[in-house]
Symmetry: C2
């Protein structure tokens, strides 16, 4: 490929609205073209990268007995009705009607399609286990697309679905896939990706892992223990409280607290710490606006994802009306009365606590001396609190939690029977009894993976693509290609490399060395070969690796062999 003919714009200036480096570099380097919010076209260099990534993933999926198939992008809503997700998922599921007024959706994931594909086929135990996977365009109508290819609305995903007759078999396969994922990230050049325990969210099921590239540019937060191997995303990391009970419970006492509306103010008023208070956080369900009141230790925050997953439905911060029966600013667990339907929940941080302050559900009054066991005897406690930097590890119990940022580059889920049951997939076991199979699912976003590699491997001038996924392997810069000798030598080298099926991009434009090298930096090709008048005079060419670890001069007549050798070493 001659660079002169390569379509795409490359420029020096940092593009506007790019919050992370990989986004800026992919715009500057002519990899992506913005079309609409969260929607991009890809130029040739990115397409070459993503095709190589896909081939690596394909090999690893085939290696764990996956069968490549394809599901449609556009699916009938009726299929998503079967699993309950047509109603269950929010606005990120794009819904529309076709010309016959049939309700359709754009696939954002394909569990329903996978079950649809195999439920007639896999009606006997001896067909199991099996795994099917695809590479397909997905659309997810994100509210806030951001960071270039990291969070888009349209993307290509490798999604895989495995089917099993029992949990042990699922777990064995899950482990094989886990290892395949590790190999995929190693082969694509980001072996530093870590797995973290995660929450299954809308996917259903129980055990799941996310694969995270730890980087400050990431949009996800992860709790990592610095003493043991505990790693989990925020909603999967249990908050552990280290506050013990006061030895003796005081009496419950209602006190007059005029003009005091926040938990901080009441604690200050009482000369106590906020961790010795019980605050109320109020939400409403999206479905019917009924109230959800969560009591939690005064110094903690709710992790809303934990709450959503507990409830199994979406919520939003409450608007507390006069008709609700709630006394905003004075809500507490004793004497709480809510008009109409409502749910009251208690965070584990309050379990067994005593001598707490809290609202009295009465204008201008609070309680002090609250004893949860004594005063709220029927409360059940669940984990809703957000884990914090320096917090206690739920695994080794040491105070060693560090909150890191990361990009999720893959995920794997043990789905259980969520889809097979709701969609009525059955098989006959050895005894001829009808059973419900269970599933696992396994995803990797291709564009996001490419962007993550760029995020992990770049300098201020451009990406440093690992050889396995680089758009080309050799980048020839013929500085002063208007010089006949230069041009002749560079042309010969280019042709020879092409004949040997080496992936080479050739820059013989009549531009300055500065422009040439800047463009080469943006294309991030592993090995650069510089043919220039100065080098020619010395009878050499320069070989420089993009990551600067290699920089050598080789004789003209040894150039080809030396390039091949250097490429092998990279």
């Amino acid at each position: 490929m001659r660079l002169e003919k390569l379509i795409g714009e490359r420029f020096k200036e940092k593009p506007a609205d790019c919050v992370i480096d990989s986004h800026a570099l992919m715009v500057k380097g002519g990899y992506i073209k913005y079309m609409s919010n969260g929607i991009y076209s890809s130029y040739m260099p990115l397409k070459r990268i993503t095709r190589k990534i896909e081939q690596i993933i394909r090999e690893e999926m085939d290696n764990i007995d996956g069968q490549e198939v394809q599901f449609p992008v556009v699916m009938p809503a009726a299929l998503w009705d079967e699993s309950g997700r047509y109603e269950g998922i929010g606005d990120e599921l794009l819904r529309f009607t076709d010309r016959n007024n049939t309700k359709m959706v754009l696939g954002m994931t394909h569990e329903e399609a996978a079950v649809h594909m195999v439920r007639e086929y896999a009606q006997s135990y001896n067909k199991y286990p099996f795994m099917i996977y695809q590479f397909q365009t997905k659309f997810r109508d994100e509210a806030r697309p951001r960071a270039g290819l990291i969070r888009v609305r349209e993307f290509t995903m490798k999604d895989a679905y495995s089917f099993h007759t029992n949990q042990e078999d699922l777990e064995q396969y899950y482990d094989r896939c886990f290892k395949a994922y590790k190999r995929i990230f190693e082969r694509t050049g980001i072996p530093e990706v870590v797995s973290v325990a995660s929450d299954s969210g809308m996917m259903g099921g129980s055990i799941s892992h996310e694969f995270m590239l730890l980087t400050s540019a990431g949009e996800d937060s992860i709790a990592i223990c610095q003493e043991c191997d505990f790693r989990a995303n925020m909603e999967a990391a249990e908050f552990i409280s280290n506050i013990k009970n006061n030895s003796e419970s005081s009496l419950l006492e209602k006190i007059f607290t005029p003009n005091i509306h926040t938990i901080e103010d009441i604690c200050e008023f009482l000369g106590d710490k906020t961790c010795n208070s019980c605050k109320a956080v109020v939400y409403q369900k999206n479905s019917d606006d009924s109230y959800v009141v969560v009591f939690i230790r005064g110094d903690l925050d709710i992790n809303e994802t934990k709450l959503v997953n507990f409830l199994g439905e979406q919520i939003h911060p409450a608007v507390i009306t006069d008709e609700s029966g709630l006394n905003a600013g004075y809500i507490g667990p004793i004497g709480l009365h809510i008009n109409n339907k409502a749910i009251v929940l208690y965070d584990k941080s309050l379990e067994n606590r005593n001598n707490l302050s809290c609202g009295a559900n009465e204008e201008e009054y609070h309680y002090k001396g609250l004893d949860m066991s004594r005063d709220v005897p029927h409360a059940q406690f669940h984990d809703f609190a957000k884990i914090q930097e320096g917090g206690i590890c739920p695994h080794c119990q040491k105070k060693a939690i560090h909150i890191s940022r990361g990009i999720e580059v893959g995920n794997i889920f043990q789905l259980g029977d969520k889809y097979t049951k709701s969609m009525n997939m059955k098989y006959a076991d050895k005894n001829g009894e009808q059973q419900t199979p269970i599933m696992g699912c396994y995803g990797i976003g291709i564009g996001r993976l490419a962007a993550s590699v760029c995020e992990a491997h770049h300098d201020e001038y451009g990406p440093i693509w690992p050889k396995a996924i680089a758009p080309w392997h050799i980048h020839i810069c013929a500085v002063r290609a208007d010089d006949e000798e230069i041009k002749l030598f560079a042309d010969k080298l280019y042709n020879k490399l092409q004949e040997e099926n080496i992936e080479v991009i050739y820059d013989d434009r009549h531009v300055s060395a500065g422009v040439m090298f800047a463009d080469a930096d943006l294309l991030g090709v592993p090995l650069r070969v510089i043919v220039s008048p100065r080098n020619m005079k010395q009878g050499i060419v320069e070989l420089v690796s993009r990551d600067k670890t290699l920089n050598k001069q080789v004789k003209l007549d040894e150039a080809f062999d030396s390039i091949i050798k250097s490429l092998d070493q990279i």
Copy 2:
């Protein structure tokens, strides 16, 4: 791959609702799974076939300097507004709004996206010419999907777009692409595909060709001259009339024709042939229901696509109301009066004709002796008539037109400046003047191509896949794999072939030879290797090609070498 593990249902019965063989065989053979009207999932065998087809196409596109890129499936309506197609295309363009109420479309073709990708890049003449292409999912909301993968709503397409500064350059490139298409059809196993001149329809532009697999199962009609090389689709084939004028024009005479409403009746009444009459065919525009009256020779039919293309908008058969001013059954060119907006058109078959009968625009009256030049002096004549079997070739003028059926497997268009002009794409020429570039576009539907190969190469038992796109190359049938000796030998052969990277599918199920061979027929793999007790006893294995041209017995210890050799010969 062990056949036992291959996902998909294969069965004997002919599936319902399959009008063509490729559809029935792809359903029976476990290639496709119906999900919704015109929407299918693909199982592994088809996915392997389409990936091979894509790779062949990719090589040929790269070979004519194409750059592989990718455009989105979901695009903003605003982009399609720029070209005018957001309004211009009918219901087959799927329109919807996203969560922010932004109007979007599902890409059924990507001219707008191609211009969007390059219009900032290609602002100087020295960037030209270039071609970009992609493989991408498309959605086209067909009113009547049919014939399996032949006419679907969702499909994968290779679409390519070339950009040029002048017509000569476009034509040269068009010719290169034409040849690449011929190679693609040869390499995928259907060299019998012919090119036919076509009409550009909604794509705009002038010169275009369709590539047709001629088969009675096709849904398109093609006019082919049996005397010269003229081939065109119906709307691109000009109707040539061979009726000469009568020597002398009679007087125009109004005659009383009670209860005569059709052109056949009036001709019978006058004792004349229908070809000596001028009939009216009336349509209404979809946009505003205004009337379009077309006069044509009484024995001919209108090709509605010709008419739509002439008008540049959609039409439907007219409902003639009392208020219209039209006298249904008596419409003629003389004294025609239509209330409100209307268009009156004349087919070329009437040009210079005389002594015709026609309606008199008056209840129960017709004219005879109509002379077009004398009585309708301002009429302009265009080609709207449908070409007929046995008709005159517009190229060699011989009466040798044959109407064939075919499947369109590809098309190429010279688009001219339709998109670049409307979307305001410009470049500076050598003199610094702003110019509008011109485009070509080039499409191949991947699934339809696979189905067409099946249509061209199958027997009653299944597809006969050409080696270049077959899902596997070798199909081992181990008949009676419960016999230890059989199993041992077949396993060894399977492993050895796999080690040598031969694509092999291995059937060691405990099923009858009949079931085994039926499944092998449905999978259509080029070379079958039969290991069976009877063969073993004779110390041989059988090699049989799917197309029956090869059938030989080889010694056990020569089996591997012989398989490799036979495969090379296929």
